[in-house]
Amino acid sequence: MKTYAEINARIESGKAVVLTADEIIDYVDRKGLEAAAAEVDVVTTATFGPMCSSGCFLNFGHSKPRIRMSEAWIDDVLVYAGIAAVDMYLGATELRYNDPANMNYPGEFSFGGGHVIENLVAGKTLQLFALSYGTDEYPRREVRTYFTLDDLNQAIMVNPRNCYQNYNVAVNTSDRPLYTYLGKLDPRLRNATYCSAGQLSPLLNDPLYETIGIGTSVWLAGAPGLVYAEGTQHCPTCRRGDNDVPMEGAGTLALTADMKQMKPDFVRGVSLMGYGVSLAIGVGIPIPILNPQILKRAAVRDRDIYAPVVDYSTDYPERTGKVLGHVNYEQLKSGQIEVNGKKIDVGSLSSYAKALEIAHLLRDQIARGEFLLSPPIRRLPLQQTMKPLKITEKAK
């Protein structure tokens, strides 16, 4: 019905009709699917939450005399230096040097890679300390200096796995508290935690990856970014509802964007007691309404999206595959769900409020003609599973 080129032409002329993934629900109800699909050009989706598989490549430029950094720390957080002389990869979950981790259980994990990334984007001054074995052309053996984001030649966020399509609701049936990447889980099913923006979340609005693919333009923490690959653990062949919406993890996206254009509000370090550090980022993805079918999927609502309730005391760590039941996002967002006949209070780790803010920002940016859509150059795989790690006795 519409093409990317037509939609982009309307965006450029400032005439595009753009709605957020929550606004579109009522809109389709009022206008009917066909009429709404003819009118609406773009639906904006978004999410904000911890995404552990995130990090960035940094280039420091060359000192005089030169150094080929072989080990390096930024604000005492180890960065990966096993690439070119002054290139580094800073990962979100790296702990600070000498962090006692879980030796004093549950550990606090107050500072790590995610926080360094937050501070970098916020424009703060950071310390670089690097060592080298020294070579003929890179004689310097050690450097300690201070820098900000502006001083770097490049700071490119490269996240191997963001935007999990759906996620577990974590509970704890055991007798002791658990400290997980979904927060503290009180014993005997006293609380539950979920982590998804539900009806706003990008891949829940495009469950079969019809418009979000490799090459899709995305809003990554305010910077223009793109999907550069399927995310790690991308597993489209999962249990799905009648509406094709996954009822478990499923698809993921690998995203990249220039950190110099990011907004600090959407790049936040995360400390999870007893678990570790991470980085929360905001992602917005526009969905072009090419036809009524795409719109129908983008108008999905919380009550039609189900997540599995998983026991993190045994079933998750032991990978039994057991699920205690399914609940929908309307129930989750109400603050209480029922599992095994017991009413449980619900908290979350992703922020619906921030996702909403991002969906609005992206909507307005597109409406102003400042953000164009790009057709994927390749679709995300629809047929692949996720292999477990086999522990073998000897080499094959």
């Binding site: 927060g183 503290k184 935690t193 929360a280 603050g335 908290g347 979350s348 409020a353």
Partner: protein, 136 residues
């Protein structure tokens, strides 16, 4: 009768003086102490609720100030930094009094109702973004 939350800071410790006793005895105030950290010859902190007639609370506060105690209504013992809260909702199930709660289920924004806070510090430990902090 009103209840007022106070955060007292003792620059130089006045622990040897029965300050709380006087608040009860001389001003008829009902005291509910949430948390205290007072060590001799060091700074002291006290987070408490006082209940009583407005005029008596005021007099009680004036009395406290004569000891050099700092009673600053803007400096809180438990701080929730609204500008840094991501509204993730992780604190919701850990806050026993629902001082931290969803203000609006449409936007899922979280609000902090200071009067309900009993200073259990669960949010200080649990907030993944370091938004809740304690002055002591």
């Amino acid at each position: 009768m009103t209840t007022k939350k106070l955060f007292l800071f003792f620059p130089k410790c006045e622990t040897e003086k029965p300050i709380i006793y006087h608040l009860v005895k001389d001003f008829g105030l009902i005291i509910n102490i949430f948390r205290a950290k007072v060590t001799p010859d060091e700074e002291g902190y006290l987070a408490l609720d006082v209940t009583g007639e407005d005029a008596n609370i005021e007099k009680g506060v004036e009395f406290l100030k004569t000891f050099g105690v700092n009673v600053d209504p803007f400096n809180k013992s438990l701080r929730w930094d609204a500008s840094r809260c991501t509204h993730c909702g992780n604190c919701l199930t850990h806050c026993p009094t629902h001082a931290l709660k969803v203000a609006d289920r449409q936007t899922m924004r979280v609000a902090f109702i200071e009067e309900l806070c009993i200073e259990c510090l669960a949010c200080v430990r649990n907030c993944p973004y370091g938004v809740c902090t304690s002055a002591f």
